[in-house]
Amino acid sequence: MKRHLISAADLTRDDAILVLDTAEEMARVADRPIKKLPTLRGRTVVNLFFEDSTRTRISFEAAAKRLSADVINFSAKGSSVSKGESLKDTALTLEAMGADAVVIRHGSSGAPHRLATSGWIGGSVVNAGDGTHEHPTQALLDAFTMRRHLAGAKDGGPTFHRGPGDGSGRDLAGRRITIVGDILHSRVARSNVHLLNTLGAQVTLVAPPTLLPIGVDTWPCDVSYDLDAVLAKSDAVMMLRVQSERMNAAFFPTEREYSRRYGLDGGRMAALPEHAIVMHPGPMNRGMEITAEVADSERCTVVEQVANGVSIRMAVLYLLLGGNEPAIATAAPAARTEENHQS
């Protein structure tokens, strides 16, 4: 039984749909005058952030607070970690303070797994992004956004930009999702490939060969080097940021050439099917992977994804902490993709 959310690959289809459906109800709380539920009163959620992150941290913080949990924010900068404390000692400190859940963001892939399996802490561990490995709550909020737009109409079809619908109970069977950009350094891409595959969608990764991880052929998705060839067959296009801060080599000749071959501009957006949406996990680099025209269009769901993030994180915290045992029970972990790119 799972007490933690480490990898999107650990979620079964039923688990994933339970999280999405729960998030659908959580989203409705945001429309009320009192946006607060008493459900996690007396529980403590620690945000343990070893890496800079604004939107993920405040998203988890807002989610925990809306469920009435106590939130402790711990960022590595200016903390005992900068004085040389190890992950283990930090974990033991948090355990002594009675943390019921630890939301961890770490620059090293596998840190949340280590925290969850070492026996250092008794609470739940939620992976909020580890290195270039996974970011499962981002994948869940992306799937939630896709479901509302691509399966949100009453008949289960796309909503054609008439606002998000309610896709409760549905999966993403048959939807074609294209993820474009820096797959190599992207934890978002990896988590999305696993989760979307679980939900029945067909994923195509588009990137220059240098920005694809080794072993991508074992991932449950297709790979293409030609963005224009797949656009017309995409229900959603997810543009990823080129993570120059993680790059220690030259992966493409110039930014201009990257932008021309793999960036999404108005012309390429016009090649998409009428109902298709444009997604971005943020932060966006306007002019690089996405033009301002596309970013500001009605098809672009960036702002909505942020709002959905709070609902998804409320759902995850509720399902992990709301009862006497987590509701997300999974059997043996599915085949995870290993990380093995050159560094």
């Binding site: 459906d21 009320r32 008493p38 459900t39 399902l319 902490l321 009862g323 006497n324 509701a327």
Partner: protein, 190 residues
């Protein structure tokens, strides 16, 4: 939840009785609310929602006006959350005009410990401030654990704690009936 296997389950309220009981409750609501102009019906999922919709139809027949009807999920307000795994949530759907200043009538299938209604009152508190809150139930089986009573009762059913009361509705279970059975094994919450 499914108590059907208990061999001794016997019906205590059949479909025609249920229809009559709901008609009577609707008339009582109109009488006590002096025309029911400001009534909002909120059903507690799952079966309370179907009962609320049926009551709304009957009220519309009597008064000639549409009565707002919605649902109020109480899962997140339960006092026994930590005794079970986290439960799946049901839909909360408040009619467009809200509940402020209105007469809210909560509708549920079985009134037992009263804890569900306590949770519903808490949930309602976060949604708005009704003029008054009343409670309509199909069956009151007694054994209250909180100072809560129903304003409209379909059928008072004196039971022992060993017995189970199970409401079946056409919308959810294919037929209308209330079954009284004997509990086997662990006590379940009704």
């Amino acid at each position: 939840m499914a108590e059907d296997r208990s061999t001794s389950a016997r019906p205590v309220l059949e479909a025609p009785d249920m229809a009559r009981v709901l008609t009577r409750i609707a008339h009582e609501i109109v009488e006590r609310a002096k025309g029911a102009d400001d009534v909002v019906l909120l059903g507690i999922p799952t079966r309370g929602v179907f009962l609320a919709r049926r009551l709304a139809d009957k009220l519309a027949d009597i008064t000639g006006r549409k009565v707002p009807v919605g649902s109020l999920d109480i899962t997140m307000y339960r006092d026994d959350l930590r005794l079970h795994p986290a439960r799946a949530l049901a839909r909360t759907d408040i009619p467009g005009d809200g509940v402020d200043g209105r007469l809210v009538i909560l509708v549920d299938d079985v009134l037992f410990s009263g804890r569900t209604i306590r949770a519903a009152l808490d949930a309602l508190n976060d949604i708005g401030r009704p003029r008054a809150v009343q409670l309509a139930v199909l069956v009151d089986r007694g054994h209250r654990e909180l100072p809560i009573r129903a304003d409209y009762v379909g059928k008072n059913l004196p039971t022992s704690l060993r017995e189970t009361v199970k409401v079946h509705l056409t919308e959810e279970d294919g037929r209308d009936t209330v079954l009284l059975g004997v509990r086997e094994g662990s006590p379940a919450d009704e």
